[in-house]
């Protein structure tokens, strides 16, 4: 299997009373009330350092993502980060996983086709092209996309980008949402007809169905841990079977918060404040900013309203031990972490594990220690999985050569 480091690039030093001051981590926090541009400059650099450190430590890929107007993660243009990572890891067996630029909020979307093609060229064909639909708050509030148009724009934009990457002749695009008279993209990606395409989602929706139909990789971006994800993964594999797809685990990527230390007790102690910061401060996103009328298509809306009314968990009421006990975060000694991860990976059939090795207020030193221990003591036990039976068709071809796990384990 492949294991990539994911990073959100959060604000790491929010005021202690942030959650009293603001009902939402998205849209509402005022820059001049909470933030400091010098600190943010340091965070961007630390984020890049941490991802490059993970690449050097032997992780298979480094992931960026796009969000807007929030404290939870604000790589407003992930291609800027991806460009630095592509340059810094040149010659290495590491994928640049852009998870990625949000098509519906970028007009024209050929801008993203160009940026991704640049990244593929700069990285020597190591790009994984991720295309999220974007959070409702990102797309519709920060970028003014009409809610009911978001998914339709996404589908049209993805078709346009794929055509723009591979068309041998100049073409005109007369779409519903985009019109371009002369499309002749410069540059084109090295990987033809297109780099591997990954599409993130937080559950099974029309997007996931579309991913299976198009034979792309579905990235389940959950913050609630592998232990709580079986309902979604089971439905995903059913969907794949219904549509005649095989059970290749590389069709499925999953995000997991992970904290490793020498012992369980040490890990629980070390990561407690950062887990609480992540769930209590950063993740607080009220429903009126994410359940905007139109963002769910009608059948999905009815389904959501019909859902058995689970008592909604208020994350602000939970503490670190709750996050650990419920499996939202996997923390512990290398042995504990690898056992829990292996359970989850096998149960859900995860081909690409997206390890959130930085979360919340975690300082760089701790993040690097986490990466070290993970790469040395956990990764070698995971990466052999699946490869005896399945090819990763959603990975840059130039990087598919097997890597000797033992050599990597001592490299850092």
């Amino acid at each position: 299997m492949k294991v990539c480091m994911f990073h959100l690039m959060p604000y790491r030093d929010l005021p202690a009373d942030f959650e009293q001051r603001y009902e939402s981590a998205f849209i509402d926090p005022l820059w001049f009330d909470v933030a400091d541009a010098d600190k943010v400059g340091a965070y961007y650099n630390a984020t890049l350092d941490e991802l490059i450190y993970a690449a050097n430590a032997g992780l298979h890929g480094v992931c960026t993502n796009q969000h807007h107007q929030n404290v939870y993660g604000f790589m407003a243009n992930p291609s800027l980060m991806g460009a630095v990572l592509a340059r810094a890891t040149n010659g290495q067996n590491v994928a640049i996983v852009q998870l990625g630029s949000t098509l519906p909020s970028t007009t024209p979307p050929t801008r993203i086709a160009e940026e991704y093609a640049m990244l593929d060229c700069i990285s020597g064909g190591r790009l994984v092209a991720g295309f999220p639909t974007g959070l409702p708050s990102d797309a519709t509030i920060a970028n003014a996309v009409v809610p009911v148009d978001q998914r339709e724009r996404f589908r049209e934009a993805l078709a346009l980008v794929k055509k723009a990457w591979s068309a041998k002749e100049m073409f005109a695009w007369n779409g519903k949402h985009y019109q371009l008279g002369m499309v002749n993209l410069w540059p084109r990606p090295i990987q033809q007809p297109h780099p591997p395409i990954w599409i993130p989602g937080s559950g099974i929706s029309s997007t996931a169905e579309n991913v299976v139909s198009l034979d792309h990789c579905f990235c389940h971006l959950s913050y609630f841990g592998a232990r709580n994800a079986a309902q979604v993964s089971d439905r995903y594999w059913e969907l794949a079977a219904e549509k005649g797809r095989d059970d290749n685990p590389y069709r499925y990527s999953f995000l997991q918060l992970i904290g490793v230390a020498e012992t369980d007790a040490e890990a629980e102690d070390l990561y407690a404040a950062h887990a609480e910061y992540f769930f209590n401060k950063l993740l607080h996103t009220p429903h009126y900013y994410q359940q905007i009328p139109g963002c769910l298509e009608y059948p999905a809306l009815v389904q959501a309203l019909s859902g058995t009314s689970r008592a909604e968990v208020n994350l602000r009421d939970l503490k670190a031990k709750d996050f650990y006990e419920r499996g939202f975060v996997i923390v512990g000694s290398p042995k504990t972490v690898r056992e829990q991860l292996l359970d989850g990976v096998k149960r859900l059939r995860i081909g690409h594990l997206l390890a959130l090795l930085h979360f919340g207020s975690m300082p760089t030193e701790l993040c690097k220690r986490n990466i070290d221990l993970f790469a040395r003591e956990v990764l070698p036990h995971l990466e052999g999985l699946w490869d005896d039976k399945y090819d990763d068709r959603w990975w840059p071809e130039r990087l598919t050569a097997k890597r000797p796990a033992a050599a990597l384990a001592t490299a850092s």
Partner: protein, 275 residues
Amino acid sequence: MGGPEVRKIRLWQDRIETAVEVSGSGPPLVYLHGPWGIAPDRTFIARLAGANTVYAPHHPGTSRGDHEAVHVLESWLDLVVYYGELLDRLALEAPTLVGHSFGGLVAAEIAAAMPRSVGRLVLIDPVGLWRDDLPVKNWMLLNDTERRPSLFADPQGEAARLFFGVPNDPAARVDALAQSIWAQACTGKFVWPIPDRGLKHRAHRIVAPALIVWGKADRIVDAAYAQEFAARIAGAEIVLIDGAGHLPHLERQDAVIEAVRRATTASSRPQREPK
């Protein structure tokens, strides 16, 4: 008393099915509902039907069973031309056009685009203009605590209770919520994120005698906007409603019905020539 007759009319090259609720008798009146769909407005429509034959179409995408129609009309121009087609199909002689909120904007736009096809115009707390010093509040992003006081002068009053009430039966509850949310999606499509589609450039074309009704305590679109509309529609009359917010036709139904009736039965003012 029976409910309204529901006519299903296929329009737009047969791609949109529009349910039109027809009730009452008297001179024709077309009622265009606001962002929450037709359901909350039915008591008001029934009152209008006391003196008029009321035609109340469901906005495209909100007719039951035709949800995907939301994707058929692609632009503001499409929407206005679609309403022209609907009015042609109803074959009404210069009807009175009454619209609330989003429906008020649509009514004003129709009256500007097709000045001779509208006999009288009644706008109830319409959206459609914009002042930077009085931004219109986005009704699709209201949080739980601000929703009631944003829409009603008396957040605990009977009108608010009825508006926000949901059935106890689980299936009926899902249906009611889905209809209300989807109606916001279908109407919001045309005015997201700012409900200004340029009516200010076209309002001078309106020649129908116009009544502008506004809830004095409207916290979605401030009542100062009544003047903004009146300044752009020659001869427009303003009636401000005490004790009402953004939905005065629900919160002070008697007062709004009285104002509409006075305006629609007043000795006919000569319609001006379109400019």
